[in-house]
Amino acid sequence: MAQAVQSRPPVTGSAVTPRKRRKFFLLDLYSTAVGKKYAMAISGIMLIGFVLAHMIGNLKMFLGAEDFNHYGEFLRELLVPILPRTVALWLMRFGLIAAVGVHIHAAYGLTILNHQARSVKYQGPRDYQVANFASRTMRWSGIIVFLFLFWHLADLTWGWWNAVGNDGTFVRGDVYGNVVRSFERVPVSVLYIVANIALGFHLFHGVWSLFQSMGWNNPRFKAWRRYIAVGIATMIVVGNVSFPLAVLAGIVGE
């Protein structure tokens, strides 16, 4: 609990403090807390773009196996013949992996900074005024979504666990069948629903937060920021949760 009283460096009275040699400006920016928040916001926007497109694309499963698998094939054929098959898809994947990497690296660095900034906690209870459940659990909701991401890839992309607990086999390219087989297992559906609700909380705060981090607060649209956050979070959760529910209800099935 002991803390040292700060020693006072000489008062310079000017902005000309000797600074270390400047790095390349992006690294220089990233080395500060405000810069890391820019990185989190921009990588967050990329991830939101992905999650939204992913959800909208998956709605095709309501049109039936043929449409859905055709959509999967379309993704692999994206930008053919400008690029060879699957190259565009892989470029997007690398972009997303980089975004996740930056997002987590910045979150980790800032979390450490924040813990150091209050090395001795309040000993009495806090009475928060506006900090909400979502804003105070960003690290947890983020970790849940991240762990879920691994399960999700192993289940539907790599197929490791797709056939565990059911009598089928994972068929590469039969996206529709794989999804149905996976969600027919109730615990798997529950896992998907829980993870998406965590994502919803993450985005409820994240989408509002990114406007502040990016310095976007024009009075013309400032009041909408909360609604935009609620709208995006709701859209993603409702869309994504509808898939396991549809399979369990037999609306989507073979």
Binding site: A2, A15, A33, G35, L110, Y122, Q212, S213
Partner: protein, 257 residues
């Protein structure tokens, strides 16, 4: 005038920076509801001194909400349960007879405890110093309208300049971040024409010296809710955007914004 009776105060006592510190309970049998919170502590201190005990150390100066010296985390809220006021403007009528009131110092690594409820806030001075001064020469008092300032700009700069540097934003922030303080101090100069010459170097220096002491903003908004001057987190967004510009702008083009 009525009175409050049988209050219990749980107050943080700590002999010095190295001491572990602990809560200690004190009873207030009867106090006027018109007493300010600090006057109530004065009464308690008189009693303690009368009993030969050591008085509770707490910060205060103007006692009218303008100097930013008073602090105190009261029942888990910076400056107590009243919105838009400093601790010195809080009155006992905000409490009820029989209440237990928990009083703690600001807690932040950058604000080490000196004794009891008093903390060292000189980390704020480090941020201010790094911002430097305005080079526009003042000379004798210039003609007031020599530099035209649009009314909305003057108002916004004034809103930021209301900051009294009390540290409630840092105390209330779950991350111990000083973004609201720094944003207010950056903005009240960066908004005005007189502050343009050092606009980018100022925001860069102040944001970077903030990193040396404080946490990082995650936009909870607790600072705005705790601020005795109700300074808006809009200024934080403004500081963030100015900081990014400071990093990428061609500073020769400062007159182009």
């Amino acid at each position: 005038m009525s009175h409050l009776e049988n209050l219990v105060l749980k107050i943080w006592r700590q002999n010095g920076p190295g001491d572990a510190g602990r809560f200690q309970s004190y009873r207030i049998d009867r106090i006027s509801d018109e007493a300010s919170f600090l006057e109530m502590l004065d009464v308690l201190n008189e009693k303690l001194i009368g009993e030969g005990l050591e008085a509770i150390t707490f910060d205060h100066d103007c006692r009218e909400g303008i100097c930013g010296t008073c602090s105190l985390m009261i029942d888990g809220r910076a400056h107590g349960p009243q919105k838009g006021t400093a601790t010195c403007q809080l009155h006992m009528r905000m409490f009820k007879s029989g209440d237990t009131i928990v009083v703690e110092p600001w807690r932040a690594t950058a604000f080490p405890i000196i004794k009891d409820l008093m903390v060292d806030r000189s980390a704020f001075d480090r941020i201010i110093e790094s911002g430097g001064f305005i080079t526009a020469s003042t000379g004798g008092a210039p003609e007031a309208n020599l530099t035209p300032v649009p009314k909305p700009v003057a108002d916004a700069a004034m809103d930021a300049a209301e900051c009294i540097g009390c540290g409630a934003c840092v105390a209330a922030c779950p991350n111990g971040a000083a973004n609201l303080f720094a944003a207010a101090k950056v903005s009240h100069l960066n908004l005005l024409p007189q502050g343009q010459a050092e606009r980018w170097s100022r925001v860069q220096a102040m944001v970077e010296s903030m990193d040396d002491y404080f946490g990082s903003c995650t936009n909870h908004g607790e600072c705005e809710a705790a601020c005795p001057k109700e300074i808006s987190i809009d200024f934080i967004a403004l500081m963030h955007s100015d900081y990014l510009k400071a990093k990428i702008k061609d500073r020769k083009l400062i007159s182009q914004q």
